[in-house]
């Protein structure tokens, strides 16, 4: 019996049209714009100046906080400008503009195709390589990978889960890398497994990707037979259900453990990394190659089969360049989405550039995007049934509209993973997620504020105590005189 997560979920048509398209290497554009915010957390600080010559793989941005990441130049050439540029949602983000000249790689990067299966036996060196090569989680949240691979003291990883679910409809890039680069992914998994103290690793793949399952199984078997350090890696076939690729849902499906509210996966002994991240870890550790390329799906119902693509792109490539390469925007398309149709974001600015986490360019037709007329809530409870976090979206929607913050917190609005199941399933087309997302942000702000206040109060109490302890000493001093 194939496993899946226990509560909620929906079954959208998976529309994996481009799953059969081999990964093509996208040409390098004439100019790239490298965003300094390609990861969750603080924006990286650019460390190059206008006029500098850079090589492929050279560091151009340094992290500015604990949760931040290095940014590397994806091309060789001259830095033309550093300044604000609009990202795909239209916000100003610092970008480094590089005019491409040739393709000269920085020293120390192994560009050969040979598979390096031997795992370095040095945890610190591995983590340093992952950090210095700017590896971030490529499952969507772009959380810096090295942070996730260092469990906080007192907590131990019991299972590494590789996320190959790719539950979003249309997306096929993970599927393709699992087919074409399966061995590298398995080596990456073995490296992360070693860093986490040798816990077992499970590669979770949904049943709708039989080719990827076969390829990954073969790769695991081959590496286990021929090299050391690959024991305990297995492939688990999962039932097809959205949002299986959600971290908490995947842990539930694979380990039957539930992460508690506001908790982290490590609390239940799990570390989840995407298969693309695993590939990036392999390249960073074994080949010393920074994260400067990723795979992107170009798809949509309005594209004929020959125009569906899976591209290996250099980060910083403008979206307009990719669109030119694939032959322009199809006439029927009215909306271009970055990411899948469930959680992806509509692109308002096609001059925006690709970032580390770019996973797709999805073209949607008018019929697919138009919002149907909104009706009244009939309390059918479909949204509560579909919610994979066990929330009651209809209630949260009502509470959010009345701005009842205490009740929203009681009903765990901060647990929402924004998967969109409620919105997808609602027969009255109520924009549940839109409203809940705002409320979630507000409630999290309130909770953080309260935690900060509690911390400040505790510190103040400590300081007062210290002052009290110091006081008698002060009184005693003049007495001595």
């Amino acid at each position: 019996m194939k496993k899946t997560f226990s509560i909620g979920g929906v079954h959208p048509n998976d529309s994996k049209i481009s799953s059969g398209c081999r990964i093509e290497v996208l040409p390098v554009p004439g100019t790239v714009y490298v965003s300094m915010l390609q990861h969750l957390g603080a924006m990286a600080n650019p460390v190059v100046a206008v006029g500098d010559k850079v090589k492929v793989g050279q560091v151009i941005g340094e992290p500015s906080g604990f949760i931040s990441a290095f940014v590397h130049s994806p091309v060789s050439g001259t830095v033309k400008s550093i300044g604000p540029r609009k990202d795909l949602a239209g916000w100003n983000i610092t970008h480094v503009e590089i005019e491409v000249e040739g393709d000269e790689w920085a020293e120390g990067i192994d560009l050969s195709d040979t598979l390096v299966t031997e795992i370095p036996q040095d945890t610190k060196a591995i983590l340093d390589k992952i950090k210095l090569n700017g590896v971030v989680g490529l499952g969507g949240a772009t959380f810096p990978a090295h942070v996730k691979l260092c469990p906080p003291p007192g907590k131990k990883a019991e299972c590494l889960i590789l996320n190959g679910a790719e539950c979003e409809p249309y997306l096929t890039s993970d599927n393709r890398i699992m087919i074409e680069r399966s061995k590298e992914i398995v080596v990456g998994a073995a490296i992360m497994k070693y860093v986490l103290g040798g816990c077992p690793a499970v590669i979770g793949i949904e049943e709708n990707k039989p080719e990827a399952i076969a390829a990954m199984k073969a790769a695991v078997a081959e590496l286990q037979a021929n090299a050391k350090g690959y024991d305990g890696i297995s492939v688990m076939v999962l039932k097809k259900k959205y949002p299986q690729g959600g971290e908490k849902q995947l842990i539930d499906a694979v380990m039957h453990r539930q992460v508690k509210s506001m908790g982290l996966p490590i609390d239940v002994g799990a570390v989840v990394q995407n298969v693309a991240t695993s590939l990036a870890v392999y390249e960073a550790v074994q080949k010393n190659k920074p994260l400067i390329t990723n795979t992107l799906t170009v798809t949509g119902d309005c594209l004929p089969m020959e125009r569906q693509h899976n591209y290996l792109f250099r980060i910083g490539t403008p979206l307009s360049f990719i669109i030119d390469q694939m032959g322009g925007i199809p006439e029927a398309a009215v909306k271009v989405v970055s990411g899948g149709p469930m959680m992806g974001k509509a692109i308002v600015n096609l001059d925006a550039t690709t970032v580390k986490g770019s996973s797709s360019l999805l073209f949607l037709t008018a019929a697919q995007t138009v919002r149907k007329e909104q009706g009244n809530c009939i309390r059918c409870g479909k949204c509560a049934e579909a919610c994979p976090m066990g929330l009651e979206p209809f209630l949260l929607n009502k509470l959010a509209k009345n701005r009842m913050m205490d009740e929203l917190e009681e009903n765990a609005v901060h647990d929402c993973i924004e998967c969109g199941c409620c919105l997808y399933t609602c027969p009255a087309n109520i924009p549940l997620l839109d409203v809940i997302r705002i409320a979630k942000g507000d409630v999290i702000k309130i909770i953080r504020g309260r935690q900060a206040a509690a911390r400040a109060a505790a510190e103040a109490a400590k300081a007062a105590e210290a002052a009290k302890a110091a006081e008698p000493a002060k009184v005693a001093e003049p007495a001595k005189k």
Partner: protein, 319 residues
Amino acid sequence: MTQTIIWTIAIITLLGVLLAVVLYLVAKKFKVEEDPRIEEVEKVLPGANCGGCGHAGCHAFATSCVGASSLDNNFCPVGGNETMKKVAAVLGMEVKEKAPMVAVVRCNGTCENRPRTNEYGGYASCRVKSALYCGDTGCLYGCLGCGDCVAACAFGAISMDPATGLPVVDEEKCTACGACVKACPKGVIELRNKGPRGMRVYVQCINKEKGGVARKACKVACIGCGKCAKVCAHDAITIANNLAYIDFTKCKLCRKCVAECPTGALVAVNFPVPKAKPAAPVAPAAAKVEKPAGAVSVKEAPAALASEKKTVETKEEQK
């Protein structure tokens, strides 16, 4: 038969008397002592429970007034000075007069001035829209036009103008409670001094981007050129983040800045329309400054007032 009726009446009467005594004693015993002045203060308040004063409602405001040592920190924006005088009379305190305020929309990004760059098909709420992306125009700062302020106004003072896509404040109805200011995710609305006979001068833009970028997104954007600040004799204008701001406490309504503004981002409203003859010398003077936008916006003011009245009707249609 008669006996049954007599007994019934007697028992029920007795029961009634007994329970009345019990209720009386309980009421005496558990009586909640409340300052009688609270009720008196509440009587003179507008009773809209809008929360504009910062309290949960009129009762909470009255309690706060009674408990406070002075009325300096308590002000009912809806009732204004008159109500506060009454409150002061009830409590025997003194009250400082505050200049009446009004909500001002600091964006003139009409469909003509600020072309749309994309089409928003999502849920019609400014908060939702601003959480998703920058908006459907090139301007990252301006009005999103989904009407969160209209929904927030408890007095029906704001309505959306379908022609411009911008909210219009009815000065007569606006009580300066500040609900719209809180509701706007972009911070477009500001409470400003109402001014004598409603005359105000303000910058109708909050775009903090560099001049060229701002101008490209919107024809009437403030480009932060600083001409207005130079011409101001009262030190009322500051330029920060490529944006001019007029301090209404210092502004003397001389309107020199309005004539100087090259983009027409600076506007003067409710000033009397200059008569045809004296207007003639004004126009060429303004024309010397790149574009006569300043003069145009002065004339626009009464027209804006007229459109406010029109849009009250359209609001009901929207409902």
